[in-house]
Amino acid sequence: MKNLFYAVICVLSISACSNNASQKVLPILGNREADTKTVNGKTITDTVYQTIPKFKFINQYGDSVSNKTLDGNIYVADFFFTTCPSICPVMHRNMLNVYKEFKNAGNFKIVSYTIDPKHDSVAVLKKYADNLGITGKNWLFLQGQKEETYKLAKSYMVEAREGNVHDGYFILIDKQKRIRGSYLGTDPAEVAKMIADIKTLQADPEQNIVQ
């Protein structure tokens, strides 16, 4: 009788757990608008979520990278500069764990935008990436116009402005270019949570229909 009781508890807790995992969906962050249109005489309301707008930058290999290059990828973005003496080394120490974790996963990228394009030329970014131990194109270091970078930061809900001032957030973007998470990149615990969230997002059926 007692054994049966334990067996039941066991089964229940396992199923409770796996249920949770399969139902978990990440929230969609950012602004949203209701888009109401009339189709075949019926009024339909769609929710339109904030997405990452168009951009065109250059990566550490000198290749041009646009929003299109990232199509079909889940990705994490951050803003930094190579000579940053304070939070960037911590952010990229933590990001290195993310890089290693998903090194062999397809359709996943890390995108680091420099906010100091004057100093961080393609050559400087390449050297930085090399020294950090980054190979291939899973982690892109991007350089563009300063004003465009600041503007783009806003659409990622990150603060970046004159005087090399920037936040240390990591922003998780889904394949529809919507914001699915914001994590303090200097905190190893938050970054560990982000790694778990990326896995949840990868398993989300919605992410596997759209390519």
């Binding site: 304070s86 080394p89 990229h92 120490r93 131990g133």
Partner: protein, 139 residues
């Protein structure tokens, strides 16, 4: 009569030695704990919580041989930074910038005591007098 006196003497002498060792011990502990805080606020972001460094960007602080060989230079490195000098740590080359830290000589002594006795290093206490002397000889 003779024996008890020498026993008492021995006792007093050993007490003195013990308190002396204790004083040194306290001095070390104070410098070490204060140094840990200086390390967390001024160094840990680059050199890591275990002095492990960061890939080929930031050198580790675990190379006791480097720390010993550059003993008199360490205070200068902290005070004035390093500007792209090629240095070899644990047999690996590093050529990056370390910014100058706004630290008083006492803080330099404390953080060096911490670094030199953490991360597998065992190189003893660093005194303020030594730091002042080393700083006067910075190139």
């Amino acid at each position: 009569m003779k024996r008890p006196i020498s026993a008492v003497l021995l006792f007093i002498v050993s007490l003195l030695i013990a308190s002396c060792i204790n004083d040194q011990d306290i001095e070390f502990k104070r410098a070490y704990t204060a140094g840990a805080i200086v390390y967390q606020t001024h160094c840990q972001n680059c050199h890591g919580s275990n002095g492990e460094g960061l890939s080929a960007l930031m050198p580790p602080l675990t190379d006791s041989v480097y720390l010993k060989q550059n003993k008199t230079q360490l205070a200068c490195i902290l005070k004035y930074g390093l500007k792209g000098n090629l240095i070899i740590v644990h047999g690996k080359p590093y050529q990056n910038q370390m910014p100058a830290a706004e630290l008083a000589p006492i803080e330099i002594a404390q953080v060096l005591t911490y670094v030199k006795n953490s991360f597998g290093n065992k190189l003893g206490v660093v005194k303020v007098d030594e730091v002042n002397k080393d700083l006067s000889g910075c190139k």
